[in-house]
């Protein structure tokens, strides 16, 4: 298509203005507002006891949810791509469900299983196991939300590389495990890495589902995103900007990781 240069230029200008208004100016301004009162104020704001405990809770939840989700994500991708069975379309739909369900609804569903007012949650509470308004519930909510990320990155790579190499390994007498560690995993590693980056970003940034199941106990079940909401609600606007700035920084690092992994993933 030969596009006249005036049209090309006006389309480019339109896109850049749209992105500037919607994306670049707002994100730029939040960093400006964060650092406006000086580095000292920023430091004080991220080292309060609540902020520190929110930071570590976020890290803990992510470090439990993401590795578990990665293992099961690879397993599910292998099942989808390397097995023939009835109900594959159904399994695909179930894996995609978290994309289509509101985070609030995810939180509510967990609440209806594990709240102490409900049969299962009450039964567990009688045995001293508390899931809601504590870390296990928040981990469950995060795992629900990130279910699709690793599967959806790994499955297409598995489809692409095929199983000829595993076949060769099997004829040479390799066990299933040997063939997985030496052949399958190396060939899908960049797909896995991309999925891990996406699910980590999502785990750190999850708000809706976690805010339903957390009970928002300050210093106990408050994550970084919940801290943003709480500080804004308490009119600590600068505190909310600082926590947001920190999370936006994590998002930028995520983008950098995505940009670095993407070309390797595509030429796997």
């Amino acid at each position: 298509m030969i596009v006249p240069s005036w049209a090309r230029l006006s389309l480019r200008t339109f896109v850049l203005i749209y992105l500037a208004i919607l994306l670049l100016a707002p994100v730029g301004l939040i960093f400006y507002r964060t650092f406006e009162p000086g580095l000292g104020a920023v430091w004080d704001s991220i080292t309060t006891p609540e902020a520190k405990s929110a930071f570590w809770l976020t890290i803990k939840i992510t470090l439990i949810a993401v590795p578990l989700n990665t293992i099961f994500g690879v397993l599910l991708a292998l099942i989808l791509e390397r097995k023939q069975f009835r109900g594959k379309a159904l399994l695909n739909t179930i894996i995609d469900l978290p994309f289509a369900i509101s985070p609030v609804v995810i939180g509510l569903s967990l609440l209806l299983v594990y709240s102490i007012n409900e049969p299962v949650g009450g039964w567990l509470a009688d045995r001293g196991i508390r899931v809601m308004f504590s870390m296990p519930g928040m981990v469950l909510a995060t795992m629900f939300v990130i279910v699709p990320f690793v599967v959806r990155e790994v499955a297409p790579v598995l489809d692409e590389v095929g199983d000829e190499q595993e076949q060769a390994a099997a004829t040479l007498g390799a066990s299933g495990w040997q063939s997985f560690w030496r052949i399958t995993l190396p060939s899908i590693r960049w797909g896995v890495a991309y999925g891990v980056v996406l699910s980590t970003a999502r785990a750190i940034g999850e708000f809706g589902a976690v805010s339903v199941v957390s009970g928002k106990l300050v210093g106990k079940t408050q994550t970084l995103t919940l801290l943003v909401g709480e500080r804004y609600g308490n009119f600590d606007v600068h505190g909310a900007y600082v926590a947001s700035g920190l999370l936006a920084l994590i998002a930028l690092v995520t983008l950098l990781a995505m940009t670095l992994i993407n070309p390797r993933r595509e030429h796997a």
Partner: protein, 277 residues
């Protein structure tokens, strides 16, 4: 499936025709994975449906048909449709500029498109509030209005259509366009008759994803919309309020309503995808 069977006539066995390919997990691994998926996703959803069904039909009708609930449903679906349409147009133009145009800083812009996926939703809401809220340095204040709903949804759904269209546009055979041009077609006609039909499936699936995301969006909306009933309150916020007010049954009924809408969109998306192949 039928097309695959035609491509590989019987007798010529390929890895795709065999019952189980090499490198597939054994029965134990498969069982554990499916059990895990059920525990994480299916069991909670089953409890949600069970709770909703505890309400009698007339109660259910009351929950979904009262003023604020109906207003929330109309706002949620209406805003999601508008956002999907805007994304279909602007996302396609953005993808075109990123693929066919060349300018200083293009790789950076290309990478930043994914920022709304990486940024936490509550941060997205605050980020918009900083510039388009009460303390706006540019004098635009949309907070607590329906414009805020639209703005926040446009922010969080920005990448969907761009990322769906971009790869198709890169793969698109330019010879068709050159042929059309050499036969005297204007660039407008070439776009309408050659480029657009090839992009349509990708645009549709990107827009459908944006719609599904917008229908369920919560984090970016709570701070900037003020959640005013009958005005800026969307379904997810209404459900959240019901949970906070200890009305789990009402929340469950509204959730199932929202879920059914999402599932319909997901099914439509599947059908579109099937048509593409």
């Amino acid at each position: 499936m039928a097309a695959e069977q035609l491509a590989h006539p019987p007798g010529l066995e390929t890895s795709r025709d065999r019952h189980t390919s090499f490198g597939a997990p054994g029965p134990l691994g498969t069982g554990i994975a499916l059990l895990w998926l059920s525990l994480i996703v299916l069991v909670p959803l089953a409890f949600l449906f069970a709770k909703a069904l505890e309400a009698s039909p007339s109660q259910m009708w009351d929950e979904v048909s009262n003023g604020p609930a109906l207003a929330a449903l109309l706002l949620t679906v209406g805003a999601a449709l508008i956002v999907a349409l805007i994304n279909a147009v602007v996302g396609t133009i953005t993808a075109w500029v990123l693929v066919r145009d060349d300018f200083f800083g293009k790789p950076v812009i290309n990478a930043l498109i994914d920022l709304p996926f990486a940024i936490p939703t509550v941060v997205a809401g605050l980020v918009l509030l900083v510039i388009y809220g009460p303390d706006s340095p540019v004098g635009i204040n949309v907070s607590f209005t329906r414009w805020a709903v639209l703005l926040a949804l446009l922010f969080v759904t920005l990448p969907f259509v761009v990322r769906a269209v971009q790869p198709v546009l890169i793969e698109l055979d330019r010879e068709m366009e050159e042929a059309a041009a050499s036969l005297g077609a204007s660039s407008g006609a070439t776009f309408r008759r050659i480029v657009l039909p090839n992009l349509l499936p990708a645009i549709a699936s990107g827009a459908a994803l944006a719609f599904a995301r917008a229908v369920g969006e919560f984090g970016s909306l709570v701070l900037i919309t003020g959640s005013i009933p009958n005005k800026t309150e969307v379904m997810s916020v209404l459900i959240f309020k019901n949970i906070e007010n200890d009305l789990p049954e009402a929340a469950a009924v509204l959730s199932v309503e929202l879920l059914l809408i999402s599932i319909l969109v997901l099914l439509a998306l599947r059908l579109l995808g099937r048509k593409r192949r």
